[in-house]
Assembly symmetry: D2
Homo-oligomer: 353 residues x 4
């Protein structure tokens, strides 16, 4: 029963096989192979418009380079206080941008509160350069706490961005899980809602290292080839990232894997919801479940073989915790099996089915 993280999972067989299938032969390096070009085109098809795509090796690279692409001197990017870019990337976004600042904005359930965003943005006036200048807003979809921005919620953020003339970035490390949760199209969850740049993640959902930066306005990416190369993210044999995406996108495998992970999370969520000793911290809308639980009980489960993560309590729930309560995070992945869910149910129930 290992629900520690979806990045603890391995590689989906179809993706591993595709890597092997392309292993032989010679091909142009540095993103110029036919396979690279073909898969890049596939992204335009997927998003129903011409996009500029750049393959990179890690989600941190995708996010950081996206911000580098919209960088401004004295720039400030706004994100939720739980965002991966501000909590878990060791300052990479600031470093890739030569010192821009990430400004946390609060909001319930891992989502930026539009009113609070407006309030933060008001602190920056063109005639007061000392504060710096807004350069981007970044939202995470699915969020860090397993929820999903509804289309209207993305609209609300992107309207603010438009009114301030700053781009909207979406960290889609769990893009597939969010999409599977909402049941809309990639276009409807992104550029049709005003998203300008997307970090499209494959790694957490069955690839081994496949991330794509997607620019919905290709002209905004004209310097990206240099930015990516200078950041050591242009792989010589980049076609093997393309090969991963080829298998990943083939026949909607990616959505199938995400749906599977989400379904497993829903099952865990149900199991936990039914247990009176704990309560969900937020709704389970993708492949992560967060539960508020007495630490002793959590430790008991962990001792019995449960793999999961004690999560630092975010602002919007910290005050609702009783003395010994903590937040526990469960993450499912494409590789989570029915058996694991069943064993977890047994663990919670205290006896086998």
């Amino acid at each position: 029963m290992n629900f520690t993280s979806d990045n603890w999972s391995g590689v989906h067989p179809a993706i591993a096989e595709n890597l092997t299938r392309h292993a032989a032969g010679m091909a142009r390096a540095y993103g110029q192979s036919d396979l690279d070009k073909r898969i890049e085109a596939k992204f335009s098809e997927l998003f129903e418009r011409e996009v500029a795509v750049f393959f990179v090796g890690t989600g941190t690279a995708a996010n950081s380079l996206a911000l580098a692409a919209v960088n401004r001197p004295g720039g400030v990017a706004f994100c939720h206080s739980e965002a991966h870019i501000v909590k878990d990337e060791c300052g990479a976004p600031e470093w890739f941008t030569g010192g821009s600042r990430l400004q946390s904005v609060a909001g319930k359930a891992g989502k930026i509160d539009p009113k609070k965003l407006v309030r933060e943005l008001r602190k920056f006036r063109p005639d007061f350069i000392h504060a710096g200048q807004p350069m981007a807003v970044s939202i995470t979809q699915a969020t860090e706490v397993g929820t999903v921005y509804q289309p209207g919620e993305i609209d609300a953020i992107s309207e603010i961005c438009r009114s301030k003339g700053i781009p909207l970035h979406m960290d889609g490390a769990r893009f597939a899980n969010a999409l599977a949760g909402l049941g809309i199209s990639p276009a409807e969850m992104t550029w049709r809602r005003g998203v300008d740049v997307l970090s499209f993640g494959g790694t957490k959902n069955g690839c081994w290292c496949a991330e794509a930066m997607v620019f919905f306005d290709p002209s905004a990416a004209k310097d990206l080839p240099y930015i990516r190369k200078r950041a050591a993210q242009l792989f010589s044999k980049t076609r093997f990232i393309a090969a991963q995406f080829e298998a990943y996108l083939e026949g909607d495998l990616w959505l199938e894997l995400a749906r599977s992970a989400n379904a497993k999370a829903a099952s865990l969520s149900e199991i936990l919801r039914a247990d009176l000793r704990c309560r969900l911290a937020w709704e389970t809308e993708a492949n992560e479940v967060f539960v508020i639980i007495d630490e002793a009980l959590a430790d008991e489960w962990i001792a019995k073989g449960l793999g999961c993560y004690k999560w630092p309590a975010p602002e919007d729930v910290v005050d609702s915790l009783a003395e010994h309560e903590i937040v526990l995070r469960f993450v499912t992945s494409f590789a989570t099996g029915d058996g694991e869910v069943r064993r977890f149910a047994e663990l919670v129930r205290g006896f086998p089915a």
Copy 2:
């Protein structure tokens, strides 16, 4: 007949298979898996001393982070004027170090001339801060022009480094080819000669993306975990880099592949040496062959299907070129077959065997 670059080749079957073999299952992310730890230990064994190892995704990352690890304010790193770090990395080393400078040093056959290095270093005096301060010397082994530093030549450089108190970095993108060429041990080509940090490349020699930074003094790498993470080079499923190295190092596969590539280069070299219409630019000591040739003849060969690269003539040969002569580069790899070499011989000869 594709001799354009060794990074046009794919992945060796044993390495592809090993990726597949490890595809299933869960394991700790971010370099903490058993496999990661085991392969890291393997490097210490390989180099006959305890080393600190960091897996990264590209050679540019390995080189740039190595320099970042030894960075100093106003720092100047010295390298040969043909070095990859100064010619082909789009400013990544400078960017990763926040603006250090790469100072080219001339030298024949792709190797830094120790006397010229001393002369350059003399320009930097502790009491003249305006010039900045030396921070490292970087040599490439095998060099960019297919030659190999002899042990004594490395000694000469490292003695200068010691006398100035600056570390010596080795860009080993073609480390295996150099080692196969010299027939000495990894230790004898590195730390026993005074090398402090090594970029150990696997990508060009049969991996798809496997590079390792090797610090011979582990204490010099104490900040590297943060430096690597901040540079977006800590892969979540880093065990798949480890898996590549596992197969790569198993049973000396890596040296076998390098020997094969070198042998093919030797054959090309012989073929070209025998042809009176061209002459070798430098000795063929690893897996690259450079020939000085009339451009018309080169174009004829290329038109007939030869894949290779017109190389900007380096300083030490540019003056020896006749009017229409150019430099042509051939690179062989683990994947270069006997058939290709034979077809090339036929092409040069003008008729089938």
Copy 3:
């Protein structure tokens, strides 16, 4: 009646005269003149220990270079949420450090709450590199809201720094005003309390551009000459910064000027405290007065010639503001005259004395 900022004031006559006195003649450039050396030594005398001193041109430079001197990869520096470095320097500290992060810590009256600092620091664990690593704490003395850290309050912060092994920086843009307020010695307010690096400001208190970085452990500053030069803060005729400090420190002029400014602030404070239509936001402990006031009344005063600044309400008072209330800031300087204070009293009272 101009209380907009102390940096709107000019240059004290004694300092202007001293610039003129040193105008003629030749002297070594780049900080090597006798005058430079003599004034540097004066700082060691002033602080009763050997210090390393670096003259720079702006307070932002002093603060940013101080942080650059203690920089670490993935570094996070902690400061109060109202600190100049995080609100008013356009990202300079982040930029000078190549992307370190400033983490705001709340606290009443412009001072870091030690408990909250401890809580923030707990988020960084050596085994969790994703969060980055603490690199410094920075306090502002006098604070941005006109209060002054008491000796014991500095002790509390520096003890936390010691326990975490990170240095303590003091932004002393209004160092003289704080010192005059506390009536203790420079040593007692700094290194005897655990301060490691000080930005010693002269500009706001009568110089035109004279700031000094003071390192209480000179060995911690060994790279600073390069860091400063690379940041374009090594003036060729730096002796004219030294000349400003010479006059500034002569016969305790600096403390006299600060005492005068503080006394004027105390008078403004009294006038406002006596007026029932407003209330002080915080105690007046240096040369700044903040008052909570109905915006209409503030506008009336401003219309009648009052120069001052509407200050964005900090966290610790924002909830105590009634509907139309705002925070108004008054700053006095060495140049503030009795007449201005009297005219302000008349303005508040509504009729001449």
Copy 4:
């Protein structure tokens, strides 16, 4: 007899007086005072077109920020191999640009050879991102070796820039001396010749710290306010830089001072030219004289009180030096007196007049 450097000189009395004249009173900070605005306008008048002007504190800041303003990812700026930006600024230009590269271009007499510039630029092709991309050319006027680009020579460089779509920067640390040497207008030496950005220096010619960045196309400077502030070069009391320029430009004082310095250099030049024991390295066209001389004789003069600088021999003269010969640099300034020149003549001659 101190000819070490023009930055060893002090401040011209008229400039010192003007600082004192403006010392009293209150004025808007951060470049918003009436005086700032008035002197900014004066620059537009001086250059006969609307320019954007930014005052900064050091020449290194002006040069580095000029390059920061035209920065590109993987950017490479071209300058002469003797240029101050590459030899004497401790990596500031690279650091301010987050790691761009300075590429030295050879040329006689301190001037970029246009043919060699073209050859260097050819190495950068839009389809080969690995090399980076050209971002600027920087010329120094007067050059580091005391010569002056003739108008036609500037034309030749700027035409190359135009053809490549990259801006031309002029480092005018000794702008006045060059202008006085050529006897043309500021416009004729800059934008009418295709110069896009100018570092206009006042410090070496009688100011204590007054440098201006001049953008001939103001729209190219729209981010400069943020860039300058973030670089800690926005002085709060910036009006005192304006005050220096006010006096400096008043009644053509600046040109008068430069003419005086140039005349003294011409006299030194004549004295040296007449001496058979040495020979000029280059023509004396501004306020610097370089002479090739036996080191023993140089040491004799220095022992007798001559202040000057042994200059590392540049490429274009190093091969013409005899065994014991070195290059000696003499710099005159606005403050160099007739007496000093006379004493030098006596020293050379070996007896008083």
